[in-house]
C-alpha cells in the first residue's frame, strides 16, 4: 500500500503556484492517457497516475474530474459487481474522448519538444540550485 498523499500546502512561492497550475492543466490529459489502453476504475486510475506520472494529486481531485469528463462526453462509465464485495465504477474513453486524447497528446508532444529545445542551454548552464 503506498503512503497517503498529503494535500499540497498553500503555494506561496510563485514557482510553486506555477507548478500547481501546470499540474492542474495536465491532469485531464493524464487521465485520458491512463484510459487509452482500456477501462479502469477510480482507484486504479489514481494508482496509475501516482506510478507513471509526477502528478501527485489529492485523491479527492480525481473523482470530480472523472465526473466532469463524463459530463463532457469524453468518458463513459459502468458499474461492475466485483469479487471484492462492492461494485466498482469503471470508466472508458468514448470515441470523442479518444479523439480528444490524441489531439491533446500531439499538442503536448509538440509543445514540450519545442520548449525543451529552447530550455536545454538553461538547464545545462544554469546554477545548480
Amino acid at each position: 500500500m503506498s503512503s497517503v498523499p498529503e494535500r499540497n500546502p498553500p503555494a506561496a512561492d510563485p514557482v510553486d503556484k506555477w507548478e500547481v497550475q501546470l499540474r492542474k492543466g495536465c491532469l485531464e490529459l493524464a487521465i485520458l492517457g491512463t484510459l487509452w489502453t482500456g477501462r479502469q476504475y477510480g482507484l486504479e486510475i489514481l494508482r496509475g497516475l501516482e506510478r507513471d506520472s509526477e502528478l501527485v494529486l489529492s485523491e479527492g481531485t480525481v473523482y470530480p474530474l472523472l465526473a466532469r469528463l463524463k459530463n463532457d462526453g469524453l468518458l463513459e462509465s459502468e458499474w461492475v459487481e466485483a469479487d471484492a464485495g462492492h461494485p466498482r465504477k469503471y470508466y472508458r474513453l468514448t470515441p470523442s474522448g479518444r479523439r480528444r486524447a490524441v489531439r491533446m497528446a500531439r499538442l503536448w508532444s509538440r509543445f514540450s519538444a519545442s520548449l525543451g529545445g529552447l530550455l536545454a542551454p538553461l538547464i545545462k548552464e544554469g546554477p545548480r540550485s
Binding site: V4, N8, E59, T61, L65, H86
Partner: protein
C-alpha cells in the same frame, strides 16, 4: 475485501459529502456517494486506518464543492436562464461571504435589465409618467410620477425614443449580466484545487 458493517467514520464522512451536494439531482448525488463508498472500501487494506483513507480524500465539503461546481457549470452553460445562473452563483459561494459579490452583482444586473425593459413598455401606455428627465440638479433615471410630469425644472430627454432605447439597454444589460455570470461560473470551475 467485503465490509458488511458500515463504519461510523465513513458514514459520517459520506453524510457530510451528501449534505454539501444539495442542489444537485438526487441520482447524481447517489452515484457520487456510491463511488466514494466503493473507493474507501477498496482503498482501506485490512487492519489499516480508515481515517487515513478519509484524510486522503480531503475535506468532505471541499470534495462536494468540486462536484457541485462542475455540475452547476455544466447546467448553467446548457441553460443560461437567469434562474439557473443565479442558482449556480448561489451554490458556488464559499462560506457566507466569499462569492456573494458576484451573486449580488448578477442579481442587480438582472433586476435593472428587467426594470429598464418594463419602463420602456410602460412608456407606451403612460407616456407622461415614464421617461428620462434632465435638469439643473441631475439626470433623473426612468421614474414614474404621480402628477404626470417630470421633476420640477427639468425637461424630458429622448421622448418616444425612450421605448427602443430602454428595450435595447435592458436587453444589453441582460446579456452582459449573463456573460458575467457564466464567466464567474467557469472561473470557479477552473480554480479547483490539486
Amino acid at each position: 475485501m467485503s465490509r458488511p458493517s458500515p463504519d461510523p467514520a465513513v458514514e459520517r464522512y459520506l453524510d457530510r459529502v451528501r449534505a454539501s451536494l444539495r442542489g444537485m439531482p438526487a441520482p447524481e448525488q447517489d452515484e457520487i456517494v456510491l463511488e466514494l463508498r466503493s473507493h474507501i472500501a477498496e482503498r482501506v487494506a485490512p487492519g489499516e486506518d480508515i481515517e487515513a483513507a478519509l484524510r486522503a480524500l480531503g475535506d468532505p465539503e471541499d470534495l462536494a464543492r468540486e462536484y457541485r461546481s462542475d455540475s452547476v457549470a455544466t447546467r448553467a452553460e446548457c441553460g443560461g436562464s437567469p434562474i439557473v445562473i443565479l442558482h449556480s452563483l448561489l451554490l458556488l459561494r464559499r462560506g457566507r461571504f466569499k462569492g456573494s459579490a458576484p451573486l449580488a452583482l448578477a442579481a442587480l444586473g438582472y433586476a435593472w435589465a428587467l426594470a429598464l425593459g418594463a419602463a420602456a413598455i410602460e412608456k407606451i401606455f403612460s407616456p407622461r409618467d415614464v421617461g428620462l428627465w434632465y435638469g439643473p440638479g441631475a439626470v433623473s433615471l426612468p421614474r414614474l410620477t404621480v402628477d404626470g410630469a417630470g421633476p420640477p425644472g427639468t425637461r424630458e430627454l429622448l421622448g418616444w425614443w425612450f421605448v427602443p432605447a430602454g428595450l435595447l439597454a435592458g436587453v444589453l444589460l441582460y446579456f452582459l449580466t449573463r456573460q458575467f455570470g457564466l464567466w464567474w461560473i467557469r472561473r470557479s470551475r477552473g480554480t479547483r484545487r490539486i
